[in-house]
Amino acid sequence: MNFELTQERQMLQDSLQRYLRDKYTTETRNAILQSEAGMSEEIWQQLADLGVIAALFAEEQGGFGGAGFDLAVVFEALGRAGVVEPFMETAILAGGLIARLGNPAQQDLLDRLMAGGLQLAFAHGEPTGRYDLTHVATTAHAQDDTILLTGRKAVVFNAERADMLVVSARESGAVDDPEGLSLFLVPKDTPGLGIQGYALLAGGRAAEVTLEQVRLGAQARLGAPGQAAEAITAQIAAACVAQTAETLGAMETACALTKDYLMTRKQFGRPIGSFQALAHRMSDVLIEMEQARSAVINAAGHLEAAPAQRERFVSAAKNLIGRVGRLVAEESIQLHGGIAMTQEYELAHIAKRIVMADHRFGDVDHHLERFIAFSAA
């Protein structure tokens, strides 16, 4: 057993943290949140130049990382700073699926992606699907050399900015059948593709995506027809590792802000952290933080394991981070008092990142049920 980061990962973490500390200040970030685009192209490019995207891909894919611990290191740093730029969408979800399933021509996209020159989105979840990974009613009809996509996708992150969407659609089977799912690369200007965007509460933008007889060539398909479910599950597992690490980073920031505030804010002539009622609650939060870190390590360390084992650890982490994240966010706000309620203060954004993370890729209850299912198997 060894709980130290490798030297490469340590260096990546250091340079990333240094960059974000200098460049991604509360003021800069809050300005990005208020901007129409909801993200900064400049910061995106600079982070790509630092190797952030390439670190999320394996060497044979043209990157220099790609393992669970690489994802965790990068996303924890992003989470600490409350970064809203769409690395999850572009690199882990859509990019990861291209890397996993794409033919050589499709794989060529990855070079551009790692250099920062491509933005992607993953259009998968649907309005009545909640967190169910195989619930896809969108259909793909293949005839000769053309494929027609029809359906609707819900809350698709980064859809407006994306140059291409990776869209899931059903070629056969019932609406929640794992068999029959395919993935397609859809360029953003394809006729029939509708994108209605909106801001998200925790930063960034998403959209409702409609597909009305979207006509594609057969070369738009990623992988074999009807066989995408396994890759989707595996890539969502990677996304869960990235996201739990990101949330852990945000939780670290919430704790740091709260500890500072407890020692500096004075009421009744003394620092409020000297009131035992608050000190003990901070202690409980710190205990749970150690549990949270371990859960993320467990999941990251099993990302390359066999699917059943991998999913069990991923769901365990997602469940635990959901629970502890809520505790950390709520306690941080409460221990601060009124100041934490103001949008301007760093904690406001961080708390929203933490809590809203439970609404992506399945919440606490969803992953509890999955954990039970995978444990029985």
Binding site: Y131, A154, A199, L200, F275, G338, A348, R360
Partner: protein, 399 residues
């Protein structure tokens, strides 16, 4: 012990329900249901409607134009109003300042200010907190100095709820710095249109603008705007706080909130079935409903005891703590129920402008409300401060 309502109480409930049915404007009901800002006009309209019926001031004595309802009547009204999605009554003039004026104000002050609260001519806000004086309110620094037939006030108030709509603010100010903190505080009524008053909005984490900073620079306040005696303001403030905490349990809000959770969860599908049928989610709902049923009775027990003459002290602290825990838990459930559609920032600008954006749950901004209501355990005396009060009272004498 009799848990059933009397015939008179049942008739009263019917009367309230009928009134709400006939008089609550649809646009206001809709806004409340969707968690939208009513705006100044919306609040004023609802106040006017209640005032015309004589129900705007449930706890005021009849001689001041109140309804003088008993605890059960108030409870019935709160329940029905919340169930009908009626707007909350802005409390600052009606249930905070008015009781103080009725007990400690001069006849002239009562005659002048109370009718204006009922008519809506004045919109009051509460100027207690300061940047350095939150839980430790007695450390407040805003000063009032008597000078040439006026008080001259300098300082900064903060967190002033709906101060942007207000024309009057009641403030705690320091009139003597030489004595013990609590003994140098006075209770002053300040016209917000006076020169030297500046209101700056504070945007909260949900994006809403409901609180403000109020800066006071050389503001001249007529001497007759002092309530009661100089340097006795702390006594009045404490009296006010016990009134601030009536209805603090928010049982009606919780009942309406829980009903909304069930609505959302019936519409939201999880694994091909309504979420409300999911055992984990159903268990969460049931757990809160059990707590809330007990809370409703705790609330009634405590407020009837207070009505019987016991001063509300520990009881109101208990109601505040448990009531806010339950309300926040319900907000948390509503957020969970929303699933992926809890994530969009549901701004007013978005609505109508974008009819493709779904509101499959027609639940409004559930996540924004979850964050906004974190305030419930912070303001009105934080839950930690309330727990200290409970402990101090109940551990006294080692009993």
């Amino acid at each position: 012990m009799d848990l059933s309502y009397s015939d008179a109480e049942k008739a009263f409930r019917k009367e309230v329900r009928q009134f709400l049915d006939q008089n609550l404007p649809d646009d206001l009901r809709d806004k409340v249901r969707r968690g939208k800002d009513l705006g100044k006009e919306g609040h004023e309209r609802w106040h006017r409607i209640l005032n015309e019926r004589g129900w705007l001031a449930p706890n005021w004595p009849k001689k001041f134009g109140g309804a003088e309802w008993n605890a059960v009547q108030r409870h019935i009204f709160e329940e029905e109003a919340a169930a009908a999605s009626a707007p909350r009554i802005v409390p600052f003039g009606l249930s905070m300042l008015a009781p103080v004026l009725q007990k400690f104000g001069s006849k002239a002050q009562q005659d002048h200010w109370l009718p204006r609260i009922l008519s809506g001519e004045d919109w009051w806000c509460q100027g207690y907190s300061e940047p350095g004086a939150g839980s430790d309110l007695a450390s407040l620094k805003t000063t009032a100095v008597k000078e040439g037939g006026h008080y001259v006030v300098n300082g900064q108030k903060t967190w002033t709820t709906l101060g942007q709509h207000a024309n009057m603010i009641f403030c705690l100010v320091r009139t003597d710095s030489a004595v013990k903190q609590q003994e140098g505080i006075s209770f002053l009524l300040i016209d917000m249109n006076s020169p030297g008053v500046e209101v700056r909005p504070i945007v909260l984490l949900d994006g809403g603008a409901e609180v403000n900073e109020v800066w006071l620079t050389d503001v001249k306040v007529p001497l007759e705007n002092l309530v009661g005696e100089e340097n006795k303001g702390w006594t009045y403030a404490k009296y006010l706080l016990t009134h601030e905490r009536t209805n603090i349990a928010g049982v009606g809000f919780s009942q309406a909130g829980l009903a909304a959770v069930k609505r959302i969860a019936a519409a939201e599908m999880a694994n091909g079935r309504p979420l409300i049928e999911n055992p984990h989610f159903a268990a969460r709902v049931a757990q809160i409903e059990i707590d809330l049923m007990a809370m409703a009775t705790t609330n009634l027990r405590m407020i009837s005891r207070a009505a019987a003459g016991t001063a509300p002290g520990v009881e109101s602290s208990m109601l505040k703590v448990k009531g806010t825990i339950i309300r926040q838990a319900i907000n948390d459930l509503a957020r969970r129920a929303g699933g992926v559609y809890a994530m969009p920032f549901a701004s007013e600008a978005l609505e109508g402008a974008n009819d493709m954006v779904p509101d499959p749950l027609s639940a409004g901004p559930v996540a924004a409300q979850y964050f906004n209501n974190r305030k419930l355990s912070i303001f009105g005396g934080s839950n930690e401060i309330q727990r200290s009060i409970i402990a101090k009272e109940s551990l006294r004498g080692g009993a």
